[in-house]
Subunit: 499 residues, 2 copies
């Protein structure tokens, strides 16, 4: 077929071309990791920086690989906020590892579309094994494992995990959708409200219960019962409670057991969102934060946050796999096959939103085997140790104060109002902007209970204690300058608003 | 800090260790691609094959990288159904390329959590550029571009695209959720019903309009109008129509313009699901299948199917970006920053389900630049040419028949009932099982209009015409054997059911 062979000259997966280019990119990435401290952590570009430097249309013909890689270096890297920089202390860090990277390469390599068992038995079976392994590491009860009534599944995000479990709860309910009520605290992740609305819960029926600084922003079981009772008295139907173990703002810990005790009285589905802090529970000394987990219906935890996994990877365990399957299964003819029909295997498409899915468990399998549980526990402990060190530094400077007790590797603090500055918010906003604008350190803020608080989240994979110490020195030096300038300016608020 | 340095000996992202291991895996993968034809396409393992070969718990201490890679080879590869094999003709192929692979490596490398502009300006801006580039390639009207009122966003799956647009439509409606009605055909992807249920649409209000073989299984505008009118007469409120350009079973084409003309009369949101076939519209000779696209509200297309992109990558364009933002935006304090508040930039978290998101546009950028539009158009044409070749082979054998006109690179055919075999279904089932059980070729089936049909989907990236020809030879040889054996068996149905 000579005519045909000609037109097939374009071979986008020639193994030797693949080998050559992928090797080149490995070196590009290794060099990036090696030199990452040379870049400003927070990108310094202005909106629209890229559009003007790229053509309006894609090229008709191919460009050389070297040109493209050079553009990645010259055009893309300046627009990157370097989440992997050791000087990244913003949000929660997204942790990574060589093992996860090569696991991801293998996942990409096979490119299986693992909707059911037959589409690649290894993808389904390895995911089941790895989810059980992680359940063991977290000492989850057997009911969350495949040997029990439940099991685990990898989702992309916590939002997806909440959507899938919320809909499972909704679909087992016999009440009309307009009557269903869901519960969280004012510290529950913002996506909770969004996901509830997506699932058709009436916005007026989404309860966001207030927390206070006196309770360290954790959800009060007593308040929960009161609100539920008021709802029931109004003829509404309590459906779902999202308990957070380690909130996004301050890593507040909702008391799982006491909240579940309340929820059980009303037949409410209890989900525990432990996206960030759940990972700490692989260390025996932190496991008690999951006490009561045997009482809940589902748990999610994102290894891309603290288990070295790269994005995107959220573990969801459910106690009753029939409920999620009832809510999410589809059975189109073109996916039918004897083995799946025999019910002897799991069809993960029935545990998630979409149909297609990647072979993500390879990443977790590589992490657990490449490092072993002991190293991973120590990685958690080391991050927390560094946060403790930062906390002590803050405490050693009387101009600052710790705002919320530190639980894990996040320190919540602020510069105290001083010398006639009554707005702690303006002051800390100014400090934060000065710190971040240099690109030397990146940290973020939150507002809880009306208080503007600086967040210093330790745990980027490359961070060592020297980075934490240097960051603190930089923060205090910036504070010195800020105070000095404010002393000089005609009015103090001028100096703050100008920053 | 000597004490600390000790405990930090565990460095999961040491650049030189990264370099060494990633290079090793590049060679592993290049070799896999080189030898992929040596593996059975369809995995030959039995359910539970992996569980018994792995320990019940993760290791306490680290294992050697060579051991792990050996296990990938010995334990994982046998459980892979090789989607990238040139002998894979099942479902729709998932296409790949070196450019996308290295784009994915770079995406993983930076590991940015691109929820808003500031979290990595390059991630937001490159996605906007690339989505506009693809819109240009598809000759979409400007209303779907950022220069117009709309814009594009990368989602993981079509399901997510439909969920986001359905909820946008739902939330602009003022009617109660129980009254809202959605429309698709009986050929619309099975996830449509699932997504509608997720969004709280009452299952009784999900219309699945019948199609017939006489209309090549495309949705009839006349029928649509009739059903809508009946719904309106009953006091229901038509909300959303999913038009499919290239259905999963047979690549049937719903007439976009004529359906949109009907929908517009009732204020219905029209979404076009062009997951597979949309990619063909980058070739001028196929662009007419998108005629009328200017009338619809949203369009989705999955480059992981036919644009060489690897999983998971679904492009969604909307005509009115305010509507998706209204439905999906969140504004938690800890993500607030001056630039996003100024509304001068896009916050992609407000265009999707979850909060976190990966830098997926790198993959598409690498594809478009590494190959150029012309090569990518030719890749589409080449796949279709190969399907045409297969179609001719089928037509040349009078024992077979083409069941639905071929539109793109999928051929729907069957072995005709013969010689007293009145069940074409049993016969073709037997043939399919025999073909697939050998691992030499993998194809799948569907049932439409009560007909059991074999699907031969050409387009795996490594497939050349010689593979198509060999597959056909194998199918006919298997047919010969099947017929011969059936002739020998005491009853013909025995011989079929034993296969």
């Amino acid at each position: 077929m000579p005519k045909y062979e000609d037109s097939k000259e374009f071979n986008p997966l020639d193994p030797e071309e693949f080998r050559e280019k992928a090797h080149k990119v490995v070196d590009f990435i290794a060099d990036y990791y090696k030199n990452i401290e040379n870049y400003p952590v927070l990108s310094q570009v202005q909106p629209g920086y890229l559009k003007n430097r790229l053509p309006n249309e894609p090229p008709d013909t191919q460009e050389s690989f070297d040109t493209i890689l050079r553009d990645v270096h010259d055009l893309i890297i300046p627009g990157i906020t370097h989440w992997l920089s050791p000087n990244f202390f913003a949000f929660f860090p997204a942790t990574v590892s060589t093992a996860a990277f090569v696991g991801e390469m293998l996942c990409t390599c096979f490119n299986v579309v693992g909707f059911n068992w037959l589409s690649s038995p290894a993808a389904t079976e390895l995911e089941m094994v790895v989810m059980d392994w992680l359940a063991t590491m977290l000492c989850l009860p057997e009911s969350f494992m495949f040997s029990g009534s439940g099991g685990g599944v990898l989702q992309s995000t916590t939002s997806e995990s909440i959507l899938c479990t919320l809909v499972s709860a909704r679909d087992r309910s016999v009440d009309e959708i307009g009557k269903l009520v869901v519960y969280g605290s004012d510290q529950t992740h913002s996506m909770f409200k969004k996901v509830c609305k997506l699932a058709g819960i009436h916005p007026q029926n989404i309860r966001s219960l207030p927390t206070t600084i006196d309770d360290d922003f954790s959800l009060s079981p007593r308040l929960l019962r009161k609100v539920i009772e008021a709802d029931v008295a109004q003829g509404l139907v309590p459906l779902y409670l999202c308990v957070t173990m380690g909130t996004t703002s301050t890593t507040a810990i909702d008391p799982i057991k006491h909240l579940a005790d309340v929820a059980i009285d009303y037949g409410i589905w209890v989900h525990v969102d432990a996206a960030y802090a759940g990972s700490a529970c692989i260390c025996p000394e932190y496991r008690h934060f999951l006490d009561g987990i045997e009482l809940v219906d589902s748990l999610s935890l994102s290894p891309h946050k603290w288990l070295l996994a790269y994005l995107d990877c959220c573990c969801l365990w459910v106690k009753n796999r029939d409920l999620i399957r009832n809510a999410l299964s589809t059975n189109p003819e073109y996916l039918r096959n004897k083995i799946s029909e025999s019910d002897s295997v799991v069809s993960y498409k029935d545990w998630q939103l979409g149909t297609g899915r990647r072979f993500k468990s390879l990443r977790l399998w590589l992490i657990l085997r490449s490092y072993g549980v002991t190293n991973i526990q120590n990685h958690i402990r080391t991050d927390i140790q560094m946060a403790v060190a930062f906390e002590r530094l803050v405490q050693s400077d009387s101009r600052f104060e710790i705002m919320v007790p530190r639980q894990f590797s996040l320190v919540c603090f602020r510069l105290k109002p001083f010398d006639g500055f009554d707005s702690a918010e303006l002051l800390n906003k100014a400090l934060l902007e000065r710190v971040n604008s240099t690109g030397q350190v990146y940290m973020t803020h939150t507002v809880v209970g009306g208080l503007y608080i600086l967040r210093f989240a330790v745990g980027a994979t490359l961070t060592k204690e020297c980075h934490v110490v240097a960051a603190w020195e930089f923060i205090t030096k910036t504070t010195d300058a800020l105070i000095k300038e404010c002393g000089r300016s005609s009015t103090k608020s001028d100096c703050l608003s100008n920053t």
